[in-house]
C-alpha cells in the first residue's frame, strides 16, 4: 500500500484571530513495505502530521493538501468513509499504552473489537484471531492473558497489545507516534524489534514518529527531519544521520550526549553565555575524603498488616568525592528515586547510614539536619512541577536562603539572586517574571539557580534533563558540568539514559532492582561492562552510529538479533 502525503499547511483557526500556521509544506511518499521516520523536537508538528493523515485533527485545526492512499485522496472523504480507512487500512500505535487502552475492557475484547468492525467474522472467530495476534506479539501465556485487563499487564506488554490492536484488521500502513517513549530502554529494544519483524513479515509500510534519533536510526529506512512545522531534510536514514546537510540536523546530532572523550564536541554547544571556564582545574580532593558516603542503605515499603514488603533500595553503598559527578543509571522501578530521597534526608532509610562530611544525617536532631541540609540541594525532573507558578522567579530562587541565618538581606540578597540567575545563563531582570513565561530548558535553569544559590556542596539531580528536548538537554548538561568545575560542586546525577550518564559522570553506578550491579569510573563501566545487565542496557540503547537493526534487510553480519 503506497501513501503519498503532501501537506501544504496545517493551520489553527481561533475566533477573532488570524489563523496560525503550525505546519507548512511537508511532503513524502511511503511505498509498500517501506519505513519512514519523522524526527523532531517538541512542537515541531510531527504528531500533527499523523493526525492529519488520519483526518483526526481537532476541528479548529485544518489541514490543506493531499493524503493519497492507493489513489484515493483521504482529505476528500467524508467522516463516514474515513471510518472505513482508519483501522482497516491505516493502523495507529500510540505513545502511552496505559491511556490508549480502555481500562475497563479485557485486552482480548479490545483486539476483537477492530476485527468485528472491519471483517465479516463472528465472535468466536474474532476471539481465536485475537489469541493468535497476542501470541504473535509474544505476550507470554496469551491464552490466560487474553482475559486480562490492561492494568494487569506491564508497560511493554501493554504496548504489545496496542500493536496487536493496530494489526488486527490487517492494515497496509502503520503509524506509530512515539511508540516506545514511555518504555524502558531494554523494553523499547524488544518492542522495536517486534515492530520491525512484523512489518517485514506482513509487508506493511511504517510511519514512525519520534524525538529520539537513535530510535529512528534503529528501525527506519528513510528519515524526515522536522523543525517548527517545516521539513528540514529528508533522505536515507544513514545519509541523514551520518552526513546531515541541513544545519538544523547537524545541530541536533551535535547536541546528542556523547562521552567525555569528545570534549570538543560538547563545548561546541555553549553551556551559557558565560565564558567557558570548564578548563579550570577541578577542586582537589582534600586528603582523599568523601563528601557523601552512603553505607548499606536499605529502604523498604510495605504494610505490616498484609505482610507485603518491597525492598525499593536493597543495600546500596557508594561515596561521592567533592567536585565530582556520581551518575546512577537504571530503569524505572529500580529504586533510584527512592535512593535520591534518602540521600536528601527526605526519606528515612530502613537500615544504613548517609554520611555528609562524616556526619550521619539521620542521627541528627531536626535543627541539626536543617543546618546540614543547607549543604545539599535538589533538582527535579519536571521543570513545570518544581517551580511554584504563583511565585516570582526571584522568590523561587531565594527559597533555600529561608532558614540560613547568615543569608544576605535586602539589597545584598537581590544582588545575590541576580548574580545566581546570571551564572545559570538567565537575565538578572528575569527575577520579576513568573515561571510560566519561560521554556522548559529555562525553567530547569531556574531550578538549578535555586539549587546553587546557598552555595551547597552537593546537588542531587533526579532525571533533570529527561523532560527536555535534545538541544536543550545538551545545554543543561553543559551547565551542570560547568558548575561542577567552577564551584567544585558535587552531583548525584540520576537518569535512565545511559548516554547522558556516560557523558556527564565521573563515576557511575548501574542500578538494578534496588542494588548496584556495577560501579566504577564512567568510561570503564560503559566501555568494558562486566555485569550482564550493564551489557544488556548498553546493547539496548538506541544509537545513531549503529546500522538499522530492527526489521527487514538486516545486514547478515549482525544476524544475532533476528528471530527469537
Amino acid at each position: 500500500m503506497t501513501i503519498e502525503v503532501d501537506i501544504g499547511a496545517i493551520r489553527l483557526h481561533r475566533p477573532r484571530q488570524e489563523p496560525a500556521t503550525l505546519v507548512e509544506n511537508v511532503a513524502f511518499t511511503i511505498p509498500t513495505g517501506a519505513t519512514l521516520g519523522i524526527v523532531g523536537e517538541s512542537g515541531s508538528g510531527k504528531s500533527l502530521m499523523a493526525l492529519a493523515i488520519l483526518g483526526l485533527l481537532p476541528k479548529e485545526i485544518r489541514a490543506e493538501g493531499r493524503v493519497v492512499l492507493d489513489g484515493v485522496d483521504l482529505m476528500r472523504l467524508s467522516e463516514h468513509q474515513l471510518q472505513h480507512v482508519r483501522g482497516a487500512k491505516i493502523g495507529m500505535i500510540f505513545q502511552e499504552p496505559m491511556t490508549a487502552l480502555n481500562p475497563a475492557m479485557r485486552v482480548g475484547a479490545q483486539i476483537a473489537e477492530g476485527l468485528l468492525r472491519h471483517k465479516p467474522i463472528g465472535g468466536a472467530e474474532a476471539r481465536a484471531e485475537a489469541l493468535r495476534l497476542l501470541e504473535r506479539v509474544r505476550i507470554p501465556d496469551a491464552r490466560r492473558r487474553i482475559d486480562a485487563y490492561p492494568h494487569e499487564l506491564s508497560g511493554g506488554q501493554r504496548q504489545r497489545v496496542g500493536i496487536a490492536i493496530a494489526l488486527a484488521p490487517g492494515p497496509g500502513l502503520l503509524i506509530a507516534d512515539e511508540p516506545t517513549t514511555a518504555l524502558d530502554v531494554t523494553v523499547q529494544a524488544e518492542v522495536l524489534d517486534l515492530l520491525g519483524e512484523l512489518i517485514a513479515e506482513l509487508s506493511m509500510s511504517l510511519l514512525i514518529i519520534s524525538h529520539d534519533l537513535g530510535v529512528i536510526a534503529s528501525i527506519s529506512e528513510r528519515t524526515l527531519v522536522m523543525n517548527a512545522g517545516k521539513c528540514m531534510e529528508q533522505g536515507e536514514t544513514e545519509r541523514v544521520l551520518r552526513r546531515p546537510m541541513h544545519p538544523y540536523t547537524q545541530k541536533l546530532i551535535a547536541a546528542l550526549p556523547r562521552p567525555a572523550k569528545d570534549k570538543a564536541a560538547n563545548l561546541a554547544v555553549a553551556a551559557s553565555p558565560i565564558e567557558t571556564s570548564a578548563l579550570l582545574p577541578r577542586a582537589k580532593l582534600l586528603d582523599g575524603s568523601f563528601l557523601v558516603e552512603v553505607r548499606d542503605v536499605e529502604s523498604h515499603y510495605g504494610r505490616r498488616a498484609d505482610q507485603t514488603l518491597t525492598k525499593a533500595v536493597d543495600g546500596v553503598s557508594f561515596a561521592i568525592a567533592p567536585g565530582t559527578i556520581f551518575g546512577i543509571v537504571g530503569e524505572s522501578g529500580c529504586g533510584k528515586s527512592t535512593l535520591a530521597r534518602v540521600v536528601m534526608g527526605l526519606n528515612r532509610p530502613t537500615r544504613g547510614q548517609v554520611l555528609f562530611e562524616g556526619e550521619d544525617i539521620f542521627a541528627k536532631s531536626r535543627s541539626e539536619l536543617l543546618r546540614l541540609r543547607r549543604g545539599f540541594q535538589m533538582v527535579f525532573q519536571d521543570p513545570r512541577g518544581s517551580l511554584d507558578p504563583r511565585q516570582s522567579v526571584g522568590r523561587i530562587v531565594a527559597e533555600p536562603l529561608f532558614l540560613d541565618p547568615d543569608a544576605p538581606r535586602g539589597k545584598a540578597r537581590k544582588d545575590l539572586i541576580e548574580e545566581t540567575l546570571a551564572s545559570v545563563g538567565l537575565q538578572p531582570s528575569d527575577a520579576d517574571r513568573r515561571p510560566h513565561e519561560f521554556s522548559g530548558g529555562q525553567r530547569q535553569r531556574i531550578a538549578i539557580a535555586r539549587a546553587i544559590i546557598g552555595r551547597p556542596k552537593l546537588i542531587v539531580a533526579d532525571e533533570p534533563v529527561s523532560a527536555l528536548d535534545v538541544s536543550v538537554q545538551a545545554q543543561v548538561l553543559n551547565l551542570i558540568m560547568d558548575l561542577r568545575d567552577r564551584y567544585g560542586l558535587a552531583f548525584l546525577f540520576i537518569s535512565h539514559s545511559l548516554a547522558v550518564v556516560e557523558m556527564i559522570s565521573d563515576r557511575v553506578g548501574v542500578m538494578y532492582r534496588g542494588n548496584f550491579v556495577e560501579t566504577g569510573p564512567a568510561h570503564e563501566v560503559f566501555n568494558r561492562p562486566v555485569h550482564a545487565y550493564t551489557k544488556k542496557l548498553i546493547d539496548a540503547e538506541p544509537r545513531i552510529d549503529q546500522p538499522r537493526k530492527h526489521g527487514r534487510a538486516v545486514p547478515s553480519d549482525e544476524g544475532t538479533f533476528k528471530e527469537s
Binding site: M378, G385, P389
Partner: protein, 283 residues
C-alpha cells in the same frame, strides 16, 4: 491573505459571557444592598394600611403587601440582610474549612482521618436541623442563621481544600521547599494556599448562592432575622396567605432569589473556567 470577515471580531455568545453576566448580576445586587442602607423609595417598615395589597406600578414598583409596605423597598433591604448573612456564614465556613482541610493535607495520618470523618458527620446534618438546634440554644436571629449556614459550609471547604492541597503537595516545589528547611505550616502558607486560592474563590461564590437559598428557607420558617427586618424568605412566607389575591407578593421575592442565585452560580462557573488554565487559552 486573511479576508476581512475572518479578521473582524465575531459577536454573540463568547466564551466569557457567562462570567460577565454573572459578575454583572452579582455586582448589581451588591450595589442595591449597599444603596438600601442609605436610601429606599419608601421606608420598608412603614405600614400604610390604605395602600395594602396594591399590584405593581399601582403603588410602588413591585406593589405593596398586606400591611401596605412597599415591596420593592423591602426587597432592597432584604438584599442587604440576605447577602450579609450569606457572606458572613460562607466566610466562617471558608476560614474554618480551609484551615482544617489544608491541615489534613499537610499532616496526613490519623489527624487527616479524624478531620475527614468530622466533615462527614457535619455533612450529615442539614442546615435546617442545625439551625433549629442552635435556635433552641440561643434563640432565632441573625447569629443563628450565620452559625447554622456556616457550620454546614465547613465540610464543603474541608473537602475542596484538602483535595486541592493534596495535589499541590504532590508537586516537586513542595519537596524543594522542604529541602530549604520550611515546615509544613510555612509551606502551606507560602505554596499551598496561593495555588488553591482560585478553586476556593470559585467554591465560595457558589456557596454564597446556596447560602442565600438556605437563608431564605430559614427566614421562611422564622429562624433567621426577626420581624420587622425585611427578609426575602419571610416575604415569601407572608405571601402564602394571599397567593390568589396578591400573587406579586410571592413572585417578587421568588424571582429576586432566583436571579441572585443564578448570578452567583454563573459567576462561580465563569470564574472556574477562567481561572482553570486547562480550559482553553487565556488571552
Amino acid at each position: 491573505m486573511t479576508s476581512l470577515a475572518e479578521a473582524a471580531p465575531r459577536f454573540g455568545i463568547g466564551p466569557r459571557s457567562g462570567l460577565l453576566l454573572g459578575a454583572g448580576i452579582t455586582g448589581a445586587f451588591v450595589g442595591i444592598a449597599i444603596l438600601s442602607q442609605f436610601w429606599t423609595p419608601e421606608l420598608p417598615t412603614r405600614m400604610h394600611l390604605i395602600n395594602k395589597l396594591k399590584p405593581p406600578l399601582v403603588a410602588g414598583i413591585a406593589g405593596t403587601d398586606a400591611f401596605g409596605r412597599d415591596i420593592f423597598s423591602m426587597l432592597m433591604v432584604g438584599a442587604w440582610n440576605s447577602l450579609s448573612i450569606s457572606f458572613l456564614s460562607v466566610l466562617m465556613g471558608l476560614v474554618a474549612g480551609v484551615a482544617l482541610g489544608t491541615a489534613a493535607a499537610a499532616v496526613r495520618g490519623w489527624i487527616e482521618e479524624a478531620i475527614m470523618r468530622f466533615a462527614d458527620i457535619v455533612f450529615a446534618f442539614p442546615a435546617l436541623i442545625s439551625a433549629i438546634m442552635i435556635a433552641a440554644l440561643i434563640g432565632a436571629g441573625q447569629l443563628t442563621a450565620v452559625l447554622a449556614i456556616g457550620i454546614f459550609t465547613i465540610p464543603v471547604f474541608i473537602r475542596v481544600s484538602r483535595g486541592a492541597a493534596l495535589r499541590v503537595w504532590a508537586l516537586d516545589f513542595c519537596v524543594a521547599a522542604q529541602t530549604a528547611g520550611k515546615g509544613r505550616l510555612r509551606i502551606t502558607i507560602d505554596h499551598v494556599l496561593p495555588n488553591i486560592a482560585g478553586a476556593l474563590v470559585v467554591q465560595a461564590t457558589i456557596q454564597i448562592g446556596l447560602a442565600i437559598l438556605v437563608e431564605a428557607g430559614l427566614s421562611f420558617l422564622g429562624l433567621s432575622l426577626p420581624p420587622p427586618a425585611p427578609s426575602w424568605g419571610r416575604m415569601l412566607s407572608d405571601a402564602q396567605t394571599y397567593l390568589s389575591q396578591a400573587p406579586w407578593m410571592a413572585i417578587a421575592p421568588g424571582v429576586t432569589i432566583a436571579i441572585a442565585v443564578l448570578g452567583l452560580n454563573l459567576l462561580g462557573d465563569g470564574l472556574r473556567d477562567w481561572l482553570d488554565p486547562r480550559s482553553g487559552s487565556q488571552a
